[in-house]
């Protein structure tokens, strides 16, 4: 075990680079074929701290493990590996434990550590990452927080926050830029010279024999000190900003912990009373990998915690893991015998966590988009389909019956048609469905868009619509059905294309407010750089990240967004998640508006969708009602409020 863990830090240039970049995809166990021991000895990886019986309490059950600090070269890493085969009575599988495993997080990715020393119960720490997300609290059943912090201090710069003596800011001094900044600004703000002896950790309050289940959950939700924000100093003080930020994050983290815990409790309680179908559903939510074949093989073995790749991406984020797509077998469990969706919330939730098998999209997208209602039966949907088909033909006929002579005197029609024709021939032509000369699907794309511009003559056609329609036509593979699904989508996204751009402005405004809430240093950075208009996110929002992901991923993202779970505006949290993921690069390289726009444009094809969705989910839960309050009513994809005139004022604030 020891060998394999040291081996985790094998000297792989790509791996080291990925760590330096703060990549969330920490892949540690993917090269077990290398001759490990000799390599790791050469690396000089050294365990500088090891503590048994450090536990997390993700549910009412605790998971115990070993916490270690590992030094490799000039870098320090923290790992927390749950014990194998212990805790069998907790009802948690090895997969659950593996999910929470902290695999060698470098201290360059850790922003701060907060120590909690409650009068009763165990001491615990919360490790906050530079992304703003945090691991669950780590409880030291056998003491050792003081020693832990002291060890860290020997290897990386650890400074006590000026704001709160229990918060320790981590600075690894990896880059010269950081070194310069810190030597210039940090020393006058925070006491650097404090030795470990000054940390008055009272370990005598620890009671190792205490019943585990008693205090775990309680501790998770107490002892968040009230934080009173002081008036901002005129002199810009990064250390102060950082600590304020850190404290704000802690309150969010605790809130998240509470919600997650109570949610799990709720689900466990319902479980006892529910039908078989419902139980299956909950089980799937709680224990996602069970339905995947890979995980299924090892599910009953206590000894072998798999180092499979599927878990590697999960360890950094304290949120629910993504699931495999919903398949037809599971889909019918959401329907009654006549085809009605019995529990649309559970269904949306399931789709949120895993998306849909491609062959299901054709049936489900119409429901998600609101074209078909959840309480409609198979027969009713078939009937609506035929009614809507003739309705579509009628609208289409309106422009088809325009004669050449009439068109000559109908400039607006000719212009619209021209614009649409120019765009459909350059929309997703590399996708098989649309590729090649004289592809009939390209003509269908044109016909639907032209028909839509008659159906909604005021909105007409706008660039970006062809991007939104293309996957819908591909999935529906029926002109009329695709049209009506597109209509349903445009009910929500139409304002993106308004002439006054108010839909876009309100979303960019809301985005700026969310970043302000969830990452105030980044917000301040954008403000300083005159980037608060967030135009660099324009493409993301206008066409729902269509240009940022490959086709299949786009479809997955869209169905996830359309579930409106956990937030109707999850796409804005997706924006925040991506920005946060690259925040250190953005600020470290001091990007201005131009380079930021370039950087964002070039992220296309390089965004890890699953990790981003997990971040976005965690962020939306963190932001909670406060986040929702920052999004103006009627902001797309919310349905429009009556002639929302309040946008105008807010535009001024941003633009």
């Amino acid at each position: 075990m020891l060998d394999s863990e040291i081996h985790d830090l094998s000297d792989d240039a790509d791996y080291a680079a990925s760590l330096q970049q703060g990549s969330a995809s920490v892949m540690l166990c993917n090269d077990s074929t290398k001759e490990s021991s000799s390599a790791s000895e050469l690396d000089g990886a050294e365990i500088v701290y090891s503590k048994e019986n450090v536990a997390i309490h993700p549910t009412q059950f605790a998971i115990s493990g070993r916490l270690k600090l590992i030094k490799q070269g000039s870098s320090l890493f923290m790992t927390w590996i749950p014990y194998k085969g212990h805790n069998a009575d907790t009802g948690l599988s090895d997969k659950d434990r593996n999910l929470y495993t902290i695999r060698a997080v470098p201290f360059t990715e850790i922003r701060s550590i907060r120590r909690h020393t409650p009068a009763l119960g165990w001491q615990y720490i919360i490790v906050v990452l530079s992304t703003g997300l945090a691991y669950p609290p780590l409880y030291f059943y056998s003491g050792g927080v003081k020693e832990f912090l002291a060890t860290i201090k020997q290897h990386v710069l650890l400074v006590r926050s000026a704001e709160d003596a229990n918060v320790f800011l981590v600075n690894d001094f990896q880059s010269t830029l950081q070194r310069t900044l810190s030597s210039l600004e940090l020393p006058r703000a925070v006491p650097l010279a404090r030795g470990p002896s000054n940390m008055s950790v009272d370990e005598s309050t620890l009671n190792e024999n205490e019943e585990r289940n008693d205090s775990g959950v309680n501790n998770g939700s107490v002892s968040v000190p009230q934080f009173h924000r002081r008036p901002r100093h005129k002199v810009h003080d990064p250390a102060r900003d950082l600590s304020i930020q850190v404290l704000e994050k802690f309150s969010l983290v605790t809130k998240f912990a509470r919600e997650t815990t109570s949610q799990l409790f709720r689900e466990n309680q319902t479980n006892g009373f529910s039908t078989n179908e419902r139980r299956t559903q909950i089980q799937t939510n709680l224990d996602p990998p069970k339905s995947s074949n890979v995980a299924g093989k090892i599910s009953d073995e206590n000894s072998a915690v798999p180092d499979s790749l599927e878990f590697d991406n999960l360890s950094l984020v304290w949120g629910k893991p993504r699931q495999p797509p919903l398949d037809s077998k599971e889909w019918i469990t959401f329907l009654d015998s006549e085809g009605r969706v019995t529990d649309s919330e559970a269904m949306r939730k399931r789709i949120f966590y895993g998306g849909l098998d491609h062959e299901l999209r054709n049936e489900v997208w119409g429901l998600l988009l609101g074209y078909y209602t959840y309480d409609s039966t198979y027969a009713e949907r078939e009937f609506l389909k035929s009614v809507k088909k003739s309705e579509y033909e009628n609208i289409k006929n309106q422009w088809q019956s325009i004669s050449p002579a009439q068109a000559k005197r109908f400039t607006k029609f000719r212009e619209r048609k021209g614009l649409i024709e120019k765009d459909v021939v350059r929309t997703d032509r590399s996708i098989t469905f649309y590729e090649g000369d004289d592809n009939p699907n390209v003509n269908v794309l044109r016909d639907i868009l032209l028909t839509y511009s008659f159906y909604n003559f005021d909105l007409g056609y706008c660039q970006g619509m062809s991007d939104l329609l293309s996957p819908i036509l591909f999935v529906m593979d029926d002109e009329s059905e695709a049209f009506w699904c597109f209509v349903a989508l445009m009910e929500r996204l139409g304002p993106n294309f308004n002439r006054d751009q108010n839909g876009m402005h309100s979303q960019l405004f809301a985005l700026s407010k969310l970043v302000e809430l969830l990452d105030s240093p980044l917000h301040n950075y954008f403000k300083q750089r005159d980037c608060l208009n967030y135009f660099f996110c324009f493409r993301w929002i206008l066409i729902q990240f269509k240009r940022e992901f490959e086709y299949e991923k786009t479809m997955l993202l869209w169905e996830v967004l359309w579930t409106h779970y956990p937030s109707e505006h999850l796409h804005l949290y997706v924006c925040v998640a991506v920005l946060k993921r690259y925040r250190s690069k953005i600020m470290g390289e001091e990007m201005d508006f131009d380079s930021l726009l370039k950087f964002i444009n070039e992220l296309s094809g390089h965004i890890d969708l699953d990790a981003t969705l997990r971040d976005a989910e965690a962020l939306s839960i963190c932001a909670g009602e406060e986040g929702a309050a920052r999004i103006p009513p009627g902001t797309p994809p919310s349905l429009p409020v009556d002639e929302g005139s309040f946008y105008i004022q807010q535009d001024d604030e941003v633009l």
Binding site: R426, D530, F535, R539
Partner: protein, 206 residues
């Protein structure tokens, strides 16, 4: 003094949707043409190093969405421009007629210090199509318009075939450079401040 001179020249390409703005930019910078360019959403830019009289400059060429509806974004993208390229498709009257709108909209949104003398360059693109047989805007007509707008330099190009693209952009770069230097002479005191700390008074901050 020479060390103070700006080395970044910002060029904005404007024109109707589908006239070939992205293609022109890519032909000039990457010497490539593709039928697969998607409609530009928002904005993007490419950079290219250019040399004039032993001095190196970075030409930053901005490609924007062509639909009128997105013009309100211009404020963010046009500011600080040193030259504006107006592109039309010689096979589309409408795209030529719209040059005037694009020019005026640019002057309003970019708000250059000396709008009368702000350098524009006009490009008539797609001369290759159908061997020129589908052409509907004559060179004479285009040149007349350019002359009337203060002798705007005019080029006819094919981004697809790479015809005249290099020549057009050389003029564009030269005019941008001239514009940048004139601005220095024109506002000698503000250049230093602008280069060092970029304070901008948009009225909504601090």
């Amino acid at each position: 003094m020479p060390s103070r001179r700006r080395t970044l020249l910002k060029v904005i390409i404007l024109g109707d949707s589908g006239v070939g703005k992205t293609s022109l930019m890519n032909q000039y910078v990457n010497k490539k043409f593709s039928n697969q360019y998607k409609a530009t959403i928002g904005a993007d830019f490419l950079t290219k190093e250019v040399q004039f009289e032993d001095r190196l400059f970075t030409l930053q060429i901005w490609d924007t969405a062509g639909q009128e509806r997105f013009q309100s974004l211009g404020v963010a993208f046009y500011r600080g421009a040193d030259c504006c390229v107006l592109v039309y498709d010689v096979n589309s009257v409408k795209s030529f007629d719209n040059l005037n709108n694009w020019r005026e909209e640019f002057l309003i949104q970019a708000n250059p210090s000396d709008p009368e003398n702000f350098p524009f360059v006009v490009i008539g693109n797609k001369i290759d199509i159908d061997g020129g047989n589908s052409r509907v805007v004559s060179e004479k007509k285009a040149r007349a318009w350019c002359a009337a707008k203060g002798n705007i330099p005019y080029f006819e190009t094919s981004a697809k075939e790479g015809i005249n693209v290099e020549e057009a952009f050389q003029t564009i770069a030269k005019d941008a450079l001239k514009s940048g230097e004139e601005e220095e002479l024109y506002l000698p005191d503000t250049i230093d401040v602008g280069n060092s700390s970029q304070p901008r008074s948009t009225g909504c901050e601090c």
